[in-house]
Symmetry: D4
């Protein structure tokens, strides 16, 4: 265990025990704290470290310490070392119901990729235009697990779970307004999916969805 | 206006003013109160009276006063006089996502029929098996308005509204358990339907859905 | 289907299939994404495209691509091409309970107009001053459908539905404070309207209300 | 202060200090506990004691001890001594929006009467039929305070408060179903009444409404 | 009725009908709209107009039109004409549980004063230090009505209502954090006050509390 | 660890490790399961076992196995062996705001007593009659910890915590109706107590309150 | 597709398409409806049919039609044909935090078993006694997927997910009272699990948890 | 009692009566009000005054009046006089589940220290890595009371309460997102802790947690 300042204990060895990367959730930390952690992992290139929910200030601070880190501003994610592992296990397909679900969907896809899976991303396939999702059926049925990011009515996971035999990881997004209640409507809909095989994670939790998908699709 | 006992004022003339039947909501009334109202409308065969949310005790009390009334126990509805008007206006198609949504769906269908519309009822077409609803597309597209009763994830109205040009009346049902929260999940999903053209009514409000549909499909 | 960048699929042909315009919800998109979509529809003047929930930055970006687009800043709406279709179908009357409900009411009215309906807008007719709404009774009774935008206690749709035979589309607004809970109080009141014939849409969803009204009043 | 068994302290002297009766809320007590209290007040005929929320079992137990007590089964209320005081102060008018609101409305009326006010009760005047309440305008405007019991959309207090100069005590009832959420919808509507002058009490709290009204209309 | 622009109808004559001032809720209006209304009432010095929830920008715009208007920045309230009526009716005593409740308490006090009541304001008398409120008992018992503004646990109205015979108007404030849920905790506590005689208004609704108190204490 | 059937592992040795009794929560178990556990502890008279939330059927089944067990039907609690330990540590004083809070208050008192504390119980001291609680001040100030059981507005813990230097364990009860929301109002009020020193436990959790109090008052 | 009466469409062929059994949710159906479905599958012994949430009346009706069906009364589940398939894929380990979680845990275990997985069940390993779960670490680490059923604080999935590399399916149960809010507390805790790799399903949804686990552990 | 301006009454003598410092909650006050209070206590060095929830502006204003005050920017706390009392009573150990819980944890620790307790702070010991908390077992078991600050799933207090005999003060934090609902998930989990001995305070209420802990650990 590595103490970082007075505020964190990095548990890099856990990486070996559980077989998965260390993740640093930036939203609740100052830029200085995040930079301190970035400095602490600089020489650990044998282990993947993901910085999630990194705003522009966080990203800047991290890139000072790790200039070659991979940075995806849409997903708010940085990865160190920059190159993902060679893919193993089954393919992970990520769907974004609408354009506004893209940040969450990309966070899920990149997480699964840096955990060593082969990934694919399909955007703007909401249930209001069923032909969009039906036209991707072949791609969906090749997946070992499908991640679906959707806000508003959260109806897409039900539809997808009825079409494929693989498990579906449903990640509600806070996209919408009014009675969407910041993602609550989509969350409840997904928990009540009328097709079995839907695994729900927290609202906007692209990282968690990608991590879970990578575990499900592990070799 | 007709005073009934000390507890109600029947407004049969409103029937003419608004052009729609009087409805008596039984759930909040005693069997005696309902019987009193039934007696008061016995000779008004020029106007339709609907008794909604009538449990077995209510039904029994009403049938003593109006032995020839039409009684649908599944919908908990009685109609007086028993024969619906000759249909006019556009056709109303009612969908029930699952078997458990049938009471609400039948209440909607019968209400629309007694308000003078031609009606059709299609059961067990949930989104977990898309082929079921897609196989009814032709029937759906003939409707002037579609009523959709669904519980759990409440996803069916979004899908239907994306398939037809007619307005969709969505009635969430309290079918489900746990995070369905007695219909709240379905209600929120419907309010956030990602296709426009969805009109939402109260949970389990088959009467309201049928009434609204009849108004939309009026000649 | 037209791919726009990596983030959207425009479905202009759906316009023909369902008979209604394409709508672009701007709130969840960047100005760049919105501008990209505006550029993609520039030459499609045979189809109406509505840009909804457009803030000043969105509007500016759209007007660069479509300088002649119609822009209503109160409603946060832009329409392309700028001229609405020749009205057909029945008249749509839109009520705003108070001055603060105006943005939502205008969004509803403009949507219905660009979907091809004849529209009328009446402002500041809340139930605290019944004479205001009663003095407009004649106008209300001419409508094929009435849209009512109200926040706070959301009482106006109940009152209006008791006065007219036409269906009422109720759109709760987030106007109010405290126990208004961002429109929740009005939403619940409307779902429990004691007069039948009230169709509820999402909080602040003027676009949805106008779209639904246009469908109900279709020729 | 009078100790009753090990479970209550009667505070009859408070009657003099605050000038109002002792009330015994039966719902949370056993029949034995209620009977014990009834026995303790048998000889205190100088002070009014109200037993509220008394179910049939409570009522039976009380009437054994106080056979001449006034019992209103609809309101679930018993009063001892049976005759209310000679009225003083201003008149209290109680409205029940619908038949199902009658138990709460009667509880309010009887409480105000036993606190020494002149009372009047008007039933079935919901806002879906405005002419009903408008036809009672004269009676309403004579009141020193108006109590309004309403469930569902809870819209009546807003309308009444816009019509009279007197304060309105609004008591939401649990009448309704689905998104009425056991009176929550009506409660929120009343708290957001768009006319000033509305005082809200707890759901189904007819006793509290009547007590408050009696205080407002005190001489 | 006076039309102001396209956005409001001033109902100054209602002042005479109900006997109370016109109030303009500024929070939902632009500075321009508010200024337009201010201009419209400039010459109506026979009627009190209150501008509530006026931020600095609103106040500035109003004072351009009505330079002599009374402005209370803590309460966010402006009054025109500046001098309140000569007091009539019973005294209104306003309590603020803590310093942070002061804006709401002042809004209540000023409203009651401009509606023609004699008013008094007592600050920082929360239940955590009972001696503070007990030391004011004499002042409290002289009131015809007591207004209590409290956030957090909302316990003060219960305590006060147990001490005085006058009705208590309880106004929950959004003071607090966490499980205070923006005033919800205080609101629920007040609705469940264990002493009768508590009239609840909306969270932070100082205007409504003052108006109601003025009606209760009317001559 | 003792396996009981296939459904429970009794952890009697934990008694020594943590120094506190084993508790068996009966509400979620069948009478047979509870009887099996009772049989398993029959010969362990060196350790206290508490059976909580025991309805009549549970109690009967337990008393067959442990005929001499102490049974308090009001609290729904049985204790084995029947005699509590000799008191040690500081005194625990339990308050019940009203008669209806008695079951929860007794559960707390008995739990503390069987954990080895000296206990006292004071009933019916709600804040609506402040003199009641003020008259017990001396007893309160002798306590090492005060437990307060209150429903409805949950105001009593704030008042008590302002009067004593000892910590207050606040246990909200589900006493009340309507906007009490089964104890939620009291829970929120207690979490927002305006005096520091209030420790909150779950609604109706008399056992937890008594256990916590016994730990706080441990020697 | 097989029509059963007017109320259901059995989709046995979907079994082949998705590779999983048909499930009949009994709670929303009458005994007659369930019996009709049982009769319809009597001769389909090539496909597994599960009857879930079957109360005693449902079970009796099913066993008349399918006397040899496997019936687990604790889980409320019946399976036809009675013998599960020969296990394939990875092992599924099911944990029940407490005795009261057993019905949900057994439903999950049996569902996974009838979907063809090898299963194991471990009971009474809540986090209040960490040694219990730590003593089962070896068994947990052999699982391809772990199902965790827990009510109250829902803390067990977080702990388990921190100990194993396999994904965890967390099923909140309605075990608890008060602020458990029928499983809501556990549901929220699981959605916010501080270890990644937790897949959440609906409250009490043992069937869904077992189905999802079987898909994850598929060969 | 000391009047400060028109907005506060300082109750320094209460310090003696209850034996604890005066606390000034800055969040709801202006910098000027806070400075006024700071000036009022400048010469009272015999009594500790804590300024809590002090943002940078508040801190600056206070430090002008009390330049030597102790200021902890992470906790948002200032203390006057700067030196804490000599420790007495039992040791207080404060745990922060994660780095983001540090502000709340430090506020708790400092409050307990300025109330005269010996304190210790342990950071980043969430349940996802059980070995972290297990490695601190010895320190935990020496505590007279343990304070646990945790957000997200709020699982740490359950685990800790199962490991120690001392009472646990659980303070939920608003750390997390989505279904954490600003600390609600952690709050509910803590109220439902499956180990007894957990005392819950308001979300983010580090001050309250530290105060309560100091009272529990009082000599």
């Amino acid at each position: 265990m590595t103490e970082v300042g007075e505020y964190a204990q990095l548990d890099l060895d856990r990486t070996w025990r559980r077989g998965y990367p260390e993740a640093v959730y930036c939203a609740g930390k100052t830029a200085d704290q995040v930079a301190g952690i970035a400095a602490a992992v600089r020489h650990r290139t044998d282990i993947v470290t993901l910085f999630t929910r990194a705003g522009p200030t966080h990203a800047e601070a991290i890139l000072v310490e790790l200039p070659r880190a991979h940075h995806d501003p849409v997903a708010g994610l940085l990865a160190w070392p920059p190159d993902p592992p060679v893919p193993a296990g089954g393919p992970v397909v990520v769907l974004a119901a609408g354009t506004s679900d893209l940040p969450v969907a990309r966070e899920a896809m990149l997480t699964a990729r840096y955990l060593g899976r082969d990934t694919d991303l399909i955007v703007d396939v909401g249930v209001a235009g069923l032909h969009r999702v039906l036209s991707r059926l072949e791609a969906l049925r090749r997946a070992r697990v499908v991640v679906v990011a959707a806000g508003m009515d959260g109806a897409l996971p039900s539809v997808v779970a009825g079409l494929v035999a693989a498990p579906v990881v449903a990640v509600p997004t806070s996209v919408g307004y009014g009675a969407a209640f910041e993602g609550l409507a989509a969350l409840l809909a997904m928990l009540n999916a009328c097709a079995p095989g839907v695994a729900v994670v927290n609202i906007d939790n692209g990282y968690g969805a990608g991590h879970l998908a990578a575990q499900i699709a592990a070799p």
